[in-house]
Amino acid sequence: MGALSLGWFALCLGVAVAVDRGNFKTCEQSAFCKRQRAMKAGQSPYRALLDTLELSDSRVTLQLINDNNKVHLLLELYRLQGNMTRVKINELKPLKPRFEVPDVLIADPPTEPLSVVSRDENGVVLSLGDEARRLIVSAQPFRLDIVEGPQVLLSLNSRGLLAFEHLRPRKDTSTFGKLFSLNSLPMSAHQAPDGGSEDDNQPGLWEETFKSHTDSKPNGPTSISLDFSLPGVEHVYGIPEHADNLKLKSTDGGDPYRLYNLDVFQYELYNPMALYGAVPVLLSHNAQRTMGIFWFNAAETWVDISSNTTVFGKMLDYVQGASETPQTDIRWISESGIIDVFIMLGPKPADVFTQYASLTGTQSFPPLSALAYHQCRWNYNDQEDVRAVNQGFDEHDIPCDFIWLDIEHTDGKRYFTWDPSKFPKPLEMLQDLTDKRRKMVAIVDPHIKVDSGYKIHSELRSKNLYVKNKDGADYEGWCWPGNAGYPDFIRPDTRAWWASMFAYDQYEGSTENLYTWNDMNEPSVFNGPEVTMHKDAVHGAWEHRDLHNLYGFYVQMATAEGLIQRSEGKERPFVLTRAFFAGSQRYGAVWTGDNAAEWDHLKISIPMCLNLNLVGISFCGADVGGFFKSPSTELLVRWYQAGAYQPFFRAHAHMDTPRREPWLFGPENTALIREAILQRYALLPYWYQLFYHAYLTGQPIMRPLWVEYPGDASTFAMDDQYLLGRDLLVHPVTEEGARGITAYLPGQGEVWYDVHTFQKHNGAQNLYIPVTISSIPVFQHGGSIIPKKLRIRRSSSCMENDPYTFIVALSPQRTAEGELYIDDGHTFSYRTEKKFIHRRLTFANNTLTSRNLALDSQFSTPSWIERVVILGAQKPNKVTLRMADGAESSLDFEFDTAMSVLTLRKPGMNVGADWSILLQ
């Protein structure tokens, strides 16, 4: 659910059509951002002290000095395995430790030796291994360049915007001084945050007020900033979460992109405002190279992007006849912590994904059913309502795996409890779902009602696990239950305790088919500044300011751990979160929060999920139908069609909207929605294999076209279509009243097949396709093999043992290949006992072969192969199935001459076996 805070206020006031921008800070209203942004380029006071250089096996260290204030910084340079460079800058001798993000990296990144290639008074050249890759440290002003041969890949501090506000004691501030500084000092560039002028009297350093909230800032100014230049780059992506296009825009003349997890009520589209989650990872791409920058900082962060290839820049080039290399400049600004940057050097998109996954881990491998259809609403009112919805799916023969319960299921918004009158017998309800082999998700938010009679609260209080306010008392804020405390999830003991609350004997009325949804974990605090926690709230040694963007990450982490522990480590968890950070992919799924039933929101769901997929979080979806407001029937149908082809497929609706279960819009629309859901279920084997692949390799599931066609510049800004894995191209209809769409089919000399008609189309063309309300334009890549299950049942569990159909789409060279992954669908036995089937299917030389990709694995399934459909085939005279033991049998087949489709009837062999089929 999550109509947050402001929703709550707006409700009282009866206003609010869209986001109230006044509730959220602009850069101008954020003191550190304003200070930092006021800095001028080209005046860097930082100088590298080359004689302090120390080289060890794993790193190079070097001191920097700010010539304006003589503060020394320590620069650490690492060459990491897998073609990455890590750059860390901290104060040499900080007054007290500065925050470094814990728990996000899956391990200390393994290093490789750096060596000094050359060195003089102007700088040092370090080798980053072979291929003439060098890291050049320039002394004055300090600057880093990463080069490969003659080519500069990326430069740091090339514009001189490195700024490190060192910790300082608070000077005696007389009342007079305070008044003076607050009232009369103009904010100007000379008060640069790099300490260019040590004016501690300027406003916003030791206290800052936004609306009615005052941030006490006991540590004073602590912000950091660094700029990066990317020569030859015109396209950058990532840094979710923003409701914006895939390709990031220049922020010149506007606000930077903001990363600060916030509960934004009725967010607006196409702007850089912060949303619920933050992944400070930016990808750059051009036809030659893809790279990534991981700004490893969990404090409030702003990202400026500028480019010399804006319209103005280009016109200038044209007029001057110049051929200036395109360049994109990035500048990161964070409120606290240290500078810690991972530079992922690619060079291919897949390399960047691998590099990033080696740092923060891959997508968790969810239970298969989590990939199926989810039916949610704020709220299913009571057990009877749940029963009726469950039955509705059966009555209309629509598959569904999960029914969800939002906050109203609890006893007075006390999570882990059930409303005694509406949900008096949760076990019975869950058994009803189990009887239909369906499951349930119930919400558990991190705000805990302050109520001494509530077990969760009293334990948190007695164990002293709550976040504290600046005065040391338990922090309390207003949220759904009224006054609430917030567990300090940063503490391992809090997380362990939280996880233990999911044990079946602790969480009464829970069973193994009950999973969890973490909402409001930005955290949302209705009466807090910007609807979130006060920055001067205290987590042990750290301020909330230091780690704000990590809070939601930890909530999901602890919850997922709870679900694992309750099954004694046997069952895979499924946890949905709204807030997230780098690494959140390890704990479950995310969704794009409280969107609206508008066509533009349907459209934006694609780039929002694409950008999340680019930075590791593959399990992404948007509320189908739109959360706020009520969709037209056409929009609802189109949203189901689009959602069926996005990783997380859940319909959800605000409490104040009319009901919209799939069967409520007349038989025709019920049939359309049903068909979209059926298509999802038929493709579940492919989805499952994609998720396994993502889990194994870190490759995204939803991919912008340029990921697979990195040299095709026409795809670089495309975000109305995408690839699922490598082999399905999806171009959902997102225009009202559409009569046709133009899909771009990439790949010179390649072919694509319409998955519905099997019509073959050539690659490297814009293809106009007429559409009707039933159309979901999807194409299968020629050269691929996709496993499907065509017997759609009421839930994915019911389909477990059903036979497979393989769709073999031949390339112009008459080849194809694909993978198949099968396991029990819900336990960890695939990794603890290697109980799975992973096979490669290959078509070449008129032979389709199934080969085991994991010889040491073992899993048996009753599933068999009922059908093989070969697209772009010629009519064979004979088709022979040959098993591993040499047994041969002749197969029946049908051939559709018009479409060149060969269907092999009932080959019948077990899907886990070795076999080949020969077309003669």
Partner: protein, 552 residues
């Protein structure tokens, strides 16, 4: 209800097929109903039931879908659009989608759908059949009784309808005359408002004349009424004996109106006709006490002051020119609780009697004009048209102010006319069996709220522990499916929801002996659902005796 009857019929078919099924074991492919058995002949190739192709018989139920219509796989899950027949001996035979075969869930009560999934299904058909028979039996009893009640309702409605129709035509007759008068008064009012003094005086005079004329007319009407009252034997004459029923006319105050005295009052004649009576009337009108105007009950002791208070209250003064309906905010009607409605009905006759004198019409329906114990009259007062609210008691005193009576009557007539017309215009069902619900209200109390359904009027919700009432919709229409229109009522345009539609309520009617709201829910934020039982939807029960007979 239709549904339930079908069940009964289905049961009949079932009980026959049960017998057949036990006696003759019919061989047929899995999942094929008896009725389609002849299409599945092992000795012949199988032709898909849609005729699309013919396949060897060994491809029937071979777990691969060959026919587009799914007919070759009646017993497997191979076809996406196939269906499986459960015999369900002891219960109702049924078809389930092929996708439910061997999915690990028992769908057929005989368990035949799970022949190869490892699910162990109990045969529950007999138990289900027994329960269903019991339920149907019970339902049949309710239906039977309910249907009898419904016949009574139809009878009552018929009577009520006739009554209302005749009232309406009477009202229609008198309406024209009243409208003319009101029009005249309207003119007076308009002119009376001319600011110029001269004009004002001129119109004042006109007004006085008009008033005199009205008074005269009223006088005549009154006299005519009295004449009719006195003319007990309706021979067109008032005679001495008839006059003697009014002892109050006794001129010498000895308490007895003698023959002579009576004759004196009649101008010495033994009997007089209506024209002659007119001349005598002035002699007796001071003393005459009407037979119809009731004595003021002692409980109606509110003072005139109260009336003055209310008339001087600006909030209660409204311009007659406004549409009368708009004058009364509907929410004002909320005051009377359901329990009082019955009383109101009992009181209706009294109200009408007191008003009869006052406004000379018995046709006032209180629904839209009279709030609980409060009446609204539109009257002339100080040369302006005003609407006054009267308590019941003050109406009596108003009655005595003859000069107001006609005006009040004239003003009220359109309301009563409209109210009656409205009531008559309601669709109370094919036989007006729902008419008895009109002006009634039914309540249901849940954990949090008291829900209130006033059929053909409105639905509302009130927090149990204080708080204001919320309208969940006003009467909209019958909105059941085409073949059963009177099974669902729709109430619309209730209070608006934040970012949502206006509240609305769907009322589902089911057959029951009682008339009651049995459940309420809010399936969607602003959309309420009520279940309401009433005999009015009970259908004629099928001949159950035959049914039961077949069982044995």
């Amino acid at each position: 209800m239709q549904h339930n009857v079908n069940w009964l019929q289905a049961l009949l078919v079932l009980s026959l097929s049960v017998t057949l099924g036990w006696t003759v074991e019919v061989q047929r492919p899995r999942g094929v109903p008896l009725t389609k058995r002849q299409f599945y002949d092992e000795a012949k190739p199988f032709t898909c039931l849609d005729g699309s192709r013919t396949i060897p018989f060994d491809r029937v139920n071979d777990d691969y879908c060959d026919c587009k219509d799914g007919s070759d796989e009646p017993g497997t899950a191979a076809c996406p659009n196939g269906s499986f027949h459960c015999t369900n001996a002891g219960y109702r035979p049924t078809f389930i989608p092929s996708s439910r075969i061997n999915d690990g869930i028992c769908d057929c009560c005989d368990g035949t759908d799970e022949y190869n999934s490892g699910a162990s299904c109990q045969n529950t058909c007999k138990e289900l059949g027994r329960k269903e028979r019991e339920a149907l039996q019970k339902l049949a009893e309710i239906t039977k009784e309910g249907f009898l009640l419904k016949q009574q309702l139809i009878e009552e409605a018929k009577k009520g309808q006739q009554e209302k129709q005749s009232r309406l035509s009477e009202l229609q007759d008198s309406r024209k005359g009243h409208e003319d008068k009101v029009e005249a008064l309207r003119t007076v009012k308009e002119t009376a408002e001319q600011p110029e003094k001269e004009a004002k005086e001129r119109h004042l005079k006109a007004w006085e004349e008009h008033k005199a004329a009205l008074r005269l007319e009223k006088e005549k009407a009154k006299m005519a009424e009295v004449f009719l009252e006195l003319d007990d034997n309706a021979d067109g004459f008032v005679d001495v004996s008839e006059l003697q029923t009014h002892q109050e006319l006794d001129p010498d105050g000895d308490g007895t109106l003698t023959d002579t005295e009576a004759q004196g009052l009649l101008g010495g004649a033994h009997k007089v006709d209506s024209t002659e009576f007119m001349n005598m009337w002035s002699n007796m009108k001071e003393k005459y006490v009407s037979e119809v105007c009731p004595p003021t009950p002692s409980s109606y002791d509110s003072s005139h002051d109260e009336q003055k208070d209310s008339t001087s209250d600006k909030d209660q003064e409204r311009d007659l020119d406004k549409d009368p309906d708009s004058v009364y905010p509907e929410d004002d009607l909320d005051e009377d609780a359901a329990g009082e409605d019955d009383e109101d009905d009992d009181d209706d006759d009294d109200h009408q009697v007191s008003l009869l004198f006052c406004i000379a019409t018995p046709f006032i329906q209180p629904h839209h004009i009279f709030l609980s114990q409060q009446y609204i009259c539109v009257c002339v007062y100080q040369r302006q048209y005003k609407i006054f609210m009267y308590t019941l008691s003050t109406v009596s005193s108003v009655c005595e102010r003859e000069r107001w009576c006609l005006l009040c009557n004239a003003a009220l007539l359109p309301f009563s006319f409209r109210a009656l017309e409205k009531e008559i215009s309601f669709d109370f069902g094919p036989s007006s069996e729902f008419a008895y619900l009109y002006s009634q209200c039914y309540e249901l109390t849940t954990n949090e709220y008291i829900y209130r359904l006033c059929p053909f009027n409105r639905v509302s919700q009130k927090p149990k522990y204080g708080g204001s009432e919320t309208s969940l919709g006003s009467w909209g229409s019958w909105s059941g499916p085409e073949d059963n229109k009177y099974s669902v009522m729709k109430y619309e345009h209730g209070m608006g929801c934040w970012q949502g539609p206006n509240r609305s309520t769907t009322v589902k009617l089911t057959c029951g002996k009682e008339t009651a709201v049995v459940s309420t829910s809010e399936p969607s934020r602003c959309e309420y659902l009520m279940e309401f039982t009433t005999p009015a939807v009970c259908l004629e029960p099928p001949n159950i005796d035959t049914q039961v007979h077949d069982e044995f």
